[in-house]
């Protein structure tokens, strides 16, 4: 009962690890034989670069998560396989340290199993649900680590791996690579972009963002609000 990458035969356009020869592109106006069977080679791929999570199979993933609320641990395996990378990616965004991110991912994925019945597909996708849970835990970890270090001023070296809460905006370009939001982030004003990016990757509160950017608190609030509104519109996110 696994859907590990090795178990799947995948053909597809770029993005699912297949080469372009796998994709089927028919256009109106092609020759009349279009209704005949299309010859497509279906090959076993050794590795699926990224599972078809998120954009292409939201309903499938939502249904998998909903199904595992029925109490069968075996039904959680496919959920782990498709949503584990979401939890790990979201954790890594905040924590940067692979070991910390792995610990958070483990906690989050057990929580996903434990609370699967609370997932409500009418309010958002399974992917968003898991990313939200993971980010929250990652931010909690950053803050408790920060609090611990604030208490112990001598322990300010880099040994924890959670040292750098300052976000270098230039570094973000690389980390955004592959994220759905990448093409939209360019549409923000520089100050909106800076505030959103610092809040997201730093796991910072509004107050901390204001301190780091040397801006007034209300200014930071409105920059983040306006920034997220623009991203929402660019991404086409619209509920109800």
């Amino acid at each position: 009962m696994t859907i590990g990458p090795d178990d799947m035969v995948v053909t597809g356009a770029s993005g699912w690890g297949g080469d372009a020869g796998h994709s089927i592109r028919k256009r109106v106006g092609d020759e009349p034989s279009v209704w005949r069977r299309q010859e497509v080679s279906v090959r076993q791929t050794e590795q699926v670069a990224s599972p078809p999570v998120g954009t292409s199979s939201r309903d499938v993933v939502d249904a998998l998560l909903t199904a595992c609320a029925g109490g069968d641990p075996a039904s959680f395996t496919p959920v782990y396989d498709v949503l584990g990378p979401v939890a790990y990616g979201a954790s890594l965004g905040v924590l940067r340290d692979p070991d910390h991110a792995a610990e958070v991912t483990q906690e989050v994925m057990v929580e996903v199993w434990q609370t699967a019945a609370r997932f409500d597909a009418t309010r958002g996708s399974a992917r968003t649900w898991v990313a939200t849970l993971a980010r929250r835990r990652a931010v909690d970890r950053v803050r408790s680590e920060q609090a611990r270090r604030d208490r112990d001023q001598r322990d300010t070296d880099l040994s924890t791996g959670l040292s750098a809460r300052d976000v270098v905006v230039e570094d973000v370009e690389r980390r955004l690579e592959g994220s759905a939001v990448r093409r939209c982030i360019e549409g923000l004003t520089p100050t909106q972009r800076e505030a959103v990016v610092v809040a997201y990757y730093g796991g910072l509160t509004y107050r901390e963002v204001a301190e780091q950017l040397g801006a007034a608190l209300p200014t930071v609030k409105s920059r983040i609000r306006d920034g997220l509104n623009r991203l929402r519109d660019c991404l086409g996110v619209r509920h109800g």
Partner: protein
């Protein structure tokens, strides 16, 4: 502070929703927003949107391989909680008063997630109107029920579909086909042992009086209808075709009543 009858305070609280989605609020602000969310369905919906935006920053990354066995082992010994719990990252799932209820189900957009679970039994696939009748039947059931019941029904349906899809995904022979749709959008189909899960997104609204129709493509190139496709937000549509004696699926734009056989060239063909 929490007096939400004051318009200014209310508006200030709404301004905190992006920060709530980013986990960027201090405790006091977060509690104030929690109270807003309990009472205001529109605020919950706005939060859901912001959460989706924030989640779009996450870049899916394969976790360390050893994590898998650890998690699956812990799952074996971890009991699940029921869905009635209050502390939920999604807010208050039991209070779905913000969802459009029954009457909307008969509109062209269909129930909010109900059409995620459309299952077309192919016994009747040569009757193109079957799809429309099935949707009408769902609407008739939904209208007089409470919203809580509707949410439960949707969940049951998703769960049932999830079990089917789970089996499909577990099939080592399963394949996924993916292609662009002429005119806009992308489509994919998961094929496993006669069952096919079709999904498309980014489809433009068809012209007035036209509709997307799904077809099962047989080995010999013949096609039979698997019903009309209803579009949801973002031009997404999903259909689970069970027991299909076919090698793939195709979509064409047809008169809105559906056609016995395709009358136009397909906008996409996905076939093994």
């Amino acid at each position: 502070m929490a007096d939400e009858t004051n318009g200014g305070v209310r508006s200030d609280l709404w301004d905190l929703l992006p920060g709530y989605a980013l986990d960027a609020l201090d405790d006091q602000d977060r509690r104030a927003v929690d109270r807003l969310l309990e009472s205001d369905a529109a605020a919950r919906r706005a939060l859901d949107e912001y959460r989706e935006v924030v989640a779009s920053f996450a870049v899916e990354t394969a976790p360390p391989a050893e994590l898998r066995a650890n998690v699956l082992e812990r799952v074996l010994s971890t009991p699940q909680v029921s869905g009635q719990g209050a502390a939920d990252v999604s807010g208050a799932p039991a209070q779905q008063d913000d969802r459009r209820a029954g009457p909307a189900a008969s509109s062209d957009r269909g129930p909010t997630t109900g059409d995620a679970g459309n299952v077309v039994e192919l016994a009747g696939r040569r009757r193109p109107r079957r799809w429309g009748l099935a949707v009408a039947a769902v609407a008739a059931i939904v209208v007089p029920t409470t919203i809580a019941v509707q949410a439960t029904a949707e969940r049951d349906r998703l769960r049932e579909q999830g079990e089917i899809v789970s089996e499909m995904l577990a099939d080592p022979e399963a394949s996924i086909l993916h292609g662009d749709v002429a005119g806009g959008g992308e489509a994919s189909v998961l094929v496993a042992d006669g069952d096919m899960l079709f999904r498309a997104e980014g489809l433009p609204e068809p012209d007035q009086g036209r509709a997307y129709q799904l077809w099962v493509v047989a080995e010999d190139g013949s096609v039979s209808s698997a019903g009309l496709l209803g579009l949801r937000d973002g031009g997404t549509t999903t259909s689970l075709v069970r027991g299909a004696d076919g090698v793939g699926l195709a979509v064409s734009v047809e008169p809105e009543a559906g056609s016995e056989q395709p009358t136009t060239d397909p906008v996409v063909v996905l076939s093994t």
